[in-house]
């Protein structure tokens, strides 16, 4: 049975589940749950919340299998469900102001520490990801971490492709500074929340000229 399931496509498994195959959904889940978990964890940053969101997503997918249409890939469909479950939980989490996002910091606490101990950069990236606004982090996680196309990420998040690009741009710019690839050079007159004038690339010793506020247009929809 297991070998038979492994040879079936995602769409076949989903169709089989929708028509009553008791094992098909489990096989589909086993195939994708690591990636689903990665999305949930890196989006939620809290392993318990991530597990809750993923469980919600699995149940939703279990029930909604019949609504799947072949226009999109099953993986995109699954990740959209995961993302929606995460967004739902994040919205509720924001409604709980007394509950910190993560007692242990924004690293990836679900990953065994010993497995990650030698990956300081990984922790740095994870920590930096945790500082991004949710919408930017989601876009970055899907596109840059999970490797989805902009179109697939837009489909998963239910937004326009341009919005995904813009969110990625905002997030990458912040991460580039946090990860040390760019040096943040606050310019005179910079206002909190305003687009930060350009820092220089760290490699060039910070010799970048001061930058003018030329991208106010970005503030309107970049998320």
């Amino acid at each position: 049975m297991r070998g038979e399931q492994e040879s079936r496509s995602d769409a076949d498994l989903l169709a089989a589940h929708a028509s009553g195959d008791a094992h098909a959904f489990g096989a589909l889940l086993a195939r994708h749950r690591d990636r689903m978990w990665a999305v949930a964890l890196r989006t939620m940053r809290d392993p318990e919340d991530a597990a809750d969101a993923l469980q919600d997503a699995c149940i939703s997918a279990f029930r909604a299998a019949a609504s799947f249409r072949a226009e999109s890939a099953v993986t995109t469909w699954l990740h959209r469900i995961v993302v929606n479950a995460c967004l739902d939980r994040m919205r509720r989490r924001k409604a709980r102001p007394t509950v910190p996002l993560d007692d242990q910091g924004p690293a990836e606490p679900a990953v065994p520490r010993d497995a990650m101990a030698d990956r300081e950069l990984t922790l740095d990236i994870s920590a930096a990801l945790g500082t991004l606004p949710d919408d930017q982090r989601l876009a970055i996680v899907l596109v840059d971490v999970q490797g989805y196309s902009v179109a697939d990420a837009a489909g998963a998040l239910g937004v326009a492709e341009g919005t995904i690009k813009s969110r990625c741009a905002r997030g990458r710019a912040k991460l580039a500074i946090q990860l040390g690839h760019l040096r943040n050079r606050p310019s005179p007159g910079a206002v909190e929340g305003e687009r930060a004038p350009l820092g220089s690339a760290s490699a060039d010793g910070g010799s970048a000229p001061s930058r003018g506020p030329a991208a106010q247009r970005l503030a309107e929809g970049g998320g």
Binding site: S19, G20, D21, A22, F25, G26, R33, W37, A51, D52, L54, Q55, C58, I59, F62, R63, A64, A66, R92, R96, T98, R119, L121, T122, I125, D144, V145, G147, A160, G162, K165, S166, A169, R172, A173, L175, A176, L179, H181, L182, R195, P197, L198, G199, S200, S202, A203, D204, S207, A208, P209, S210, R211, G212, A214, A215, R217, L218, E220, G222
Partner: protein, 373 residues
């Protein structure tokens, strides 16, 4: 979409970081991007920024996979298994199925044999299956999931009925307020859970005894609830279909209840059981109180076997801290659901009928009723 289709070209060099980030991310229309790229290529600082953005993306790409922890995987497997079990029940006990003797062709999913009001049409909201392989009539068919099946074929399910779509969550306006207390309650519940359950089950046993005695007194002829529309305390047995066999998952009540006749569908609730299957009680809207005897003492099953999940569900329904008297799997207007009876602070009994999604994700409340216990 923040970029104009083809508009003014941002100033630079020197470039704003966000301009370069947008250029790097492909935000600009190609004609604008081409001009910007040319300008950036001539600017060492802009080149360095673009290289930094490339390095950032490379770092993100290089993040190692995050395998799902075994505990989370096991939790998902359990949740899916519970869903699968619920689907099995839903298939074996189609809503609206008549007791044995009713011609299958008369069993339309919306035509409940009770003759009562047609419940809200959850079927209408169910998306059509991907493939139309389910029977569209009630022709007998073997259960799709026969793991526990040991008897003759049971009634086929209605199209799309086994797994109805989850109703939208967030129906309870106080959900967020209740949820705020969840985290604090979780720790407390874990520590006092056994005591709470002991108390709850003790009350449940007392309630069950009262209802059992009441049922016997009301029906001294041994036909409790039979044919009595709206009977106040309709007790039901596991042999509602007349096809009960030994070895069922749940023992039949020992109150002497007999299988109702074929026309007993006028009772507000019916327990229908397929051979070898977990009993599912079909409950009709606005008759939740009739469930009390059947809920009492039932240990949480399915997703609510997880105390944290049950707590989350209670919190979502503004029932945090109330003693649970029992949790009973039911079928409610075609949906797999769970009836939860609670002892409130005012000594009333509150009955919630919730969908399996009830939990941290939402109340999934289908109906509730408060009555004096």
């Amino acid at each position: 979409m923040t970029a104009p289709l083809s508009g003014p070209i941002p100033a630079g060099p020197p470039f704003d970081l966000d301009v370069l980030a947008d250029l790097h991310a492909g935000v600009y229309p190609e004609d604008v991007a081409a001009v910007l790229r040319a300008r950036a290529a001539a600017d060492p600082d802009a080149r360095a920024v673009l290289a930094a953005l490339d390095a950032t993306v490379a770092d993100l790409h290089a993040l190692p996979p995050v395998p799902i922890p075994a505990s989370v995987a096991a939790r998902l497997d359990a949740a899916v298994a519970a869903e699968q079990a619920a689907r099995t029940v839903a298939r074996v006990v189609p809503v609206g199925s008549a007791p044995a003797g009713i011609p299958p062709t008369a069993q339309h999913p919306a035509a409940l044999p009770t003759g009562g009001p047609v419940p809200p049409s959850t079927h209408a909201s169910v998306p059509p299956p991907l493939q139309s392989i389910r029977p569209t009539t009630g022709a007998p068919m073997p259960p799709v999931l026969p793991q526990q099946h040991a008897g003759p074929p049971v009634q086929g399910d209605a199209p799309g009925s086994p797994i109805p779509q989850q109703p939208p969550s967030g129906r309870v306006s106080s959900l967020e307020g209740a949820r705020r207390a969840r985290d604090q309650r979780r720790a407390a519940q874990r520590s006092r859970g056994p005591v709470r359950w002991a108390t709850g089950l003790g009350i449940a046993a007392a309630v069950a005894a009262v209802f059992t005695v009441g049922a016997v007194l009301l029906h001294p002829d041994g036909e409790p609830g039979t044919g009595m529309a709206g009977g106040p305390l309709t007790t039901t047995s596991a042999a509602a279909t007349g096809a009960s066999q030994p070895g069922m998952n749940e023992p039949a009540p020992s109150n002497g209840a007999q299988p109702p006749p074929a026309d007993a569908g006028s009772a507000p609730t019916r327990a229908t059981t397929a051979p070898g299957q977990t009993r599912a009680v079909v409950v009709q809207p606005h008759h939740l109180a009739d469930l009390l005897p059947q809920i009492a003492g039932k240990a949480p099953a399915g997703p609510f076997a997880d105390p944290a999940r049950l707590d989350a569900c209670l919190a979502a329904n503004d029932a945090a801290g109330q003693d649970v008297l029992g949790v009973l799997p039911v079928s409610y207007t075609g949906q797999q659901a769970y009836a939860i009876s609670l002892r409130t602070d005012t000594s009333e009994v509150r009955i919630l009928v919730v969908g399996p999604q009830c939990g941290a994700s939402g109340s999934d409340l289908l109906e509730e009723q408060t009555t004096t216990g």
